[in-house]
């Protein structure tokens, strides 16, 4: 136990202001997010992630949002287990034919008003997988999309920026 406490003490707080490629506007993204979430979502934004057929690269970066460096919970953002509780759907793609029905059902199970964010190049337009017998292409081919976040995969900073855009509109 003493080791654990010692390590916590030594590590200190590593959470940082998000600095991305365009640092100027991203550095303040956190504060903007917090303000909007307070105003529009009473302080708590619930996100349901749906993998509609991705290669799991985007999932790694969405995971990273929960690490202590990005610590997305400080803005009042939580990932929820059920679409019933979700305000926002974060969907990675391309939409595989075999996930089409599950995606539609999850969308239908989410209470309105709902915001849909398509993540990654594949989520935007099918990416390298394109459209084929097995894939339908971008998320907007199956459910209405409000905001897209490009990148293969998009960095955690880009993800945060996209979420901000989605709730600002």
């Amino acid at each position: 136990m003493i080791r654990t406490l010692f390590k916590i003490f030594r590590t200190g707080i590593v959470t940082e202001n998000v600095i991305g490629q365009d640092a100027d506007n991203i550095e303040v993204i956190g504060q903007k997010l917090s303000k909007l979430i307070k105003k529009r979502f009473k302080g708590s934004l619930r996100i349901r992630h749906i993998d509609a057929g991705s290669c799991n690269g985007c999932e790694l970066e969405i995971h990273a949002l929960n690490n202590p460096i990005y610590d997305i919970e400080r803005y009042g953002i939580h990932f929820t287990a059920s679409p019933r509780f979700a305000d926002l759907l974060l969907v990675t793609g391309p939409v595989s034919r075999n996930m089409e029905i599950a995606l539609k059902r999850t969308y239908a199970a989410t209470a309105t008003p709902k915001v849909v964010v398509a993540v990654g190049d594949c989520g935007c337009n099918g990416g390298i997988f394109g459209e084929s017998y097995a894939t339908l292409g971008g998320i907007d081919k199956v459910i209405p999309v409000d905001v897209i976040i490009k990148g293969c995969p998009p960095t955690p900073a880009a993800l945060l920026n996209g979420i901000l855009q989605a709730i600002a509109n």
Partner: protein, 499 residues
């Protein structure tokens, strides 16, 4: 050092199963089984791993009568390989006990076999009515728990159906295919050059392993010499990918046991590595850095210094955390004796990677079938015999230590020279094969050119294709609440499996 070998054997259709029995007697493992379409016939391949050698046995069957003798009687692991061949090629494995569709869903039109050449891969499929015949269990007190495809966390889609009595799992049936993106067919449309980008997206977390395996397979079709420096840089990427994924997964397993402290600490270390990747080579996961003929980026002298000093930091912090993991009784309570895969089961199911090495296995392609420069490195393989979640964690702990050592060696001894050469277009009617030990385990690629030298078939076998089946056995008699731990300790890829 033992010489590793790749052998091709052609056999008659009726001898296909007989050879499998002989292979089994010589304690070879069935590593993969797949089909390909030639002009006049279907070709069926079975790839056996025997110590340092791979034997690829080929047989053909006429298109008018697409059948071959099933190997399931001899090798359990053939079960899903053959279901897949049946589903996507429409070739019938005679004697297979379970020909329910695999990856293909029940709502696909019956006669749709997308990997056949006369099928236009770009054309959408229709939907038909159909029902999947789940395994049923009846009896008083048996409860069925369906989970997925959309899971509770940030995970890929798949379906698990548990039968439980009280808290105890008495059967688990997996069902996959939700992330099937038609990757193998896509390879055929994209061609050789773009293939490495697609391979890098078969399973995003193993982008280096897959891109490398694809490139090595294609390069093996022509007599080209990859610049030494490029091969060493490739190995550096492979080891860095191993460290960052192992760090993240050890943390995630601790998180599933509600020990959040270690989760945060390991994720913090992982993030540092990813940022260094971004800084040095422009991509956090090192996607698209491995190309046909070499690599696309240089490792500068400053970069080497940065990596070395980062390794020292990493090593020190990592060892502190391992001590904390080791000295935590409540964590031990969850991971010890949970999800045991016995040595016999591991052998029967032909598992690979850390799952195998946690159950007494000793196979690691970096030693048994080394690509350059691994034949220059003395890679030590950690082996544990307990086969539980704890053993799988310790294998990964030791592998991180070993990878740190390997990276130091690579950086200190790295030869100078070119980064890439032009990789010639493969000649007609040739095949190429590769086996690369990614962080998840043995990753196999087999590529074939047609009579015009175009890509005719690219077979991908992610380690998950075999390890998933073994997970069904490992969770038996565990409590339902321990499933996330078992699953995370295997950490199979859905996308790599579904293709």
């Amino acid at each position: 050092m033992k010489k590793s070998q790749l052998t091709y054997i052609d056999v008659a259709l009726d001898k296909f199963a007989e050879i499998a029995e002989q292979m089994k007697k010589q304690s070879a493992t069935l590593a993969a089984e797949w089909a390909s379409e030639a002009n006049s016939c279907f070709e069926i391949y079975a790839c056996y791993r025997q110590n340092s050698n791979y034997n690829i046995v080929k047989t053909v069957c006429p298109k008018s009568n697409p059948e071959f003798p099933s190997l399931v009687g001899t090798y359990t692991v053939a079960n899903r390989f053959e279901r897949q061949i049946h589903s996507l090629f429409g070739i019938i494995p005679i004697g297979h006990p379970d020909l329910r569709p695999w990856i293909k869903f029940e709502d696909w039109p019956e006669e749709s076999y997308p990997l056949r050449k006369n099928v236009d891969g770009l054309k959408p499929l229709g939907r038909v009515a159909g029902e999947y015949a789940w395994i049923q269990s009846t009896g008083v007190g048996v409860c069925e728990i369906p989970v997925g495809p959309v899971h509770a966390g940030i995970i890929e889609p798949g379906h698990f159906r548990f039968h439980a009595v009280g808290e105890t799992i008495i059967n688990l049936e997996e069902r996959f295919g939700y992330t099937h993106k038609g990757i193998e067919k896509r390879f055929e449309t994209l061609g050789w050059e773009d293939g490495s980008r697609l391979a890098g997206r078969v399973s995003g977390d193993s982008t280096v392993a897959h891109a490398l395996a694809y490139c090595v397979a294609v390069e093996s079709m022509s007599d080209i010499n990859i610049p030494k420096r490029a091969s060493w840089i490739r190995a550096l990427f492979l080891e860095r990918e191993r460290i960052s994924n192992h760090l993240g997964d050890i943390g995630a397993i601790c998180n599933d046991a509600s020990f959040v402290f270690l989760f945060y600490q390991f994720m913090r270390l992982k993030e540092k590595l990813l940022r260094t990747n971004q800084q040095l080579w422009g991509h956090r996961f090192m996607m698209d850095l491995i190309i046909l003929g070499g690599v696309s980026v240089e490792v500068s002298i400053e970069g080497i210094d940065q990596i070395l000093s980062e390794l020292s930091m990493l090593e020190k912090e990592f060892e502190e955390l391992v001590k904390i993991y080791d000295g935590n009784p409540s964590l031990e309570e969850r991971v010890l004796t949970t999800g045991i895969l016995t040595k016999e089961q591991a052998k029967e199911f032909g598992v690979v990677g850390y799952v195998s090495r946690a159950s007494g296995g000793k196979m690691d392609c970096r030693v048994s079938y080394p690509i350059y420069p691994y034949d220059q490195i003395d890679v030590r393989i950690p082996t544990y015999i307990d086969g539980d979640v704890n053993a799988r964690i310790w294998v990964r702990v030791d592998e991180i230590r070993e990878s740190i050592r390997i990276i130091r060696f690579l950086l200190n001894e790295m030869p100078i020279g070119e980064l890439s050469v032009v990789c010639p277009k493969p000649e007609p009617n040739k095949t190429g094969f590769s086996a690369v030990e990614g962080w998840r385990g043995e990753t196999l690629y087999w590529v074939q050119s047609d009579e015009k030298g175009q890509l005719n078939r690219c077979m991908v076998r992610d380690p998950s294709s075999v390890n998933w089946l073994a997970l069904e056995k490992a969770v038996m008699n565990n409590i339902v609440a321990d499933f996330p731990l078992c699953n995370k300790s295997f950490n199979c890829s859905y996308s790599g499996h579904d293709l």
